[in-house]
């Protein structure tokens, strides 16, 4: 069975780097693997821990690990954006969210729902399928990391403002819409809570 033929990439002629075996990793690979293990471990702890705040903190580790992986892949601008936005703001937002929803501090026994085992089965099946496909398809593909970096700030600025200006501007509109939407959602909910508490109490009790 040759999945490489199935998952054929049009603009990617097979690169003759078959001499790069998996048993003789380069330094970058070793670093990538180690950081990747840390990232994966942090991610696993994030989705399994019973302490909600710890989950957010382990998420910081996982996202930071990903930023390091971006760096190793020479995409430095993305790495800094990752650190800035995810680690800096998203996780903070999540922590605020936990705080505002009065998430319990410490171990909460019911962090996982009854759907856990079905979820595990689905996730494992998906993982096996994906890893199998990916490995089968790309086991011989080699990324040449030598030469000029592919994602320096200069390169990023060049392609972003040369080729991707219009989507970039459209994205700003989307962000604005999301901002307005978030505000509206929060305020409207509060107004509802003030005017018709009886209804909500009844529904909440359901």
């Amino acid at each position: 069975m040759n999945l490489a033929a199935a998952v054929h990439l049009a603009s990617a002629p097979p690169v003759p780097h078959a001499q790069h075996g998996f048993l003789s990793p380069t330094g970058v690979e070793i670093a990538f693997l180690l950081v990747g293990l840390v990232t994966l471990g942090a991610a696993l702890v994030t989705v399994t821990t019973r302490q909600l705040v710890h989950a957010a903190l382990w998420l910081v580790v996982a996202l930071g690990g990903l930023a390091v992986e971006y760096l190793l892949l020479t995409a430095e601008f993305i790495a800094w954006v990752q650190v800035l936005i995810y680690v800096g703001s998203v996780v903070v937002l999540l922590l605020f969210g936990l705080m505002l929803t009065k998430a319990p501090i410490g171990r909460s026994p019911d962090a996982d729902s009854g759907n856990r085992w079905a979820a595990l089965a689905v996730a494992v099946a998906a993982a096996v399928a994906l890893v199998w496909v990916v490995v089968d398809a790309f086991r011989t593909t080699w990324i040449d990391l030598d030469g000029p970096a592919a994602g320096t700030t200069e390169v990023t600025g060049t392609f972003l403002f040369r080729h991707w200006v219009l989507p970039f501007e459209a994205l700003s509109v989307l962000l604005l819409a999301a901002l307005v939407g978030a505000i509206v959602l929060s305020r409207k909910a509060r107004a509802d809570a003030d005017t018709t508490p009886a209804v909500h109490g009844k529904e909440g009790a359901r």
Partner: protein
């Protein structure tokens, strides 16, 4: 570097996030898991972009551009998502996903056999009340 490393890591992270989405009870934890899935995709995009920019002399860098867009959209998503969760929490007093079962099928209604005699009695009771 072998492309398999980032690709496999991405797949495993994605499935981890998938498990979290399906298994976590708290909505904010579900959002965290969604972030994990998004980041897995981002890693994929970056790795393939780096590979293609070298192997195929591709200068458009669409993978990195899409990664940036994804990060931005993820930020917006987390904002909206948290707003929704907060609204639900205010309204329902909980942010547990498996307690939000408004679409659930109610208890099994009476069959057509039991309905005949039951309905008039119920109506009568209502009328007398």
């Amino acid at each position: 570097m072998h492309l398999a490393y980032p690709a496999v890591l991405s797949a495993l992270l994605f499935c981890t996030g998938l498990y979290g989405v399906l298994a976590r009870r708290n909505a904010i934890l579900v959002l965290m898991s969604v972030e994990l899935m998004l980041n897995a995709v981002n890693l994929n995009l970056v790795a393939f972009d780096v590979w293609l920019s070298r192997a195929a002399e591709e200068t458009l860098h669409s993978g990195q551009a899409l990664t940036l867009f994804t990060i931005a959209i993820a930020a917006a998503e987390i904002g909206i998502g948290l707003a929704i969760v907060l609204a639900v929490h205010r309204n329902r007093g909980t942010s547990d996903i498996d307690k939000l079962r408004d679409t659930a099928e109610g208890p099994e209604p009476e069959g057509p056999d039991a309905e005949g005699p039951g309905t008039p009695a119920a109506e009568k009771a209502e009328a007398s009340a």
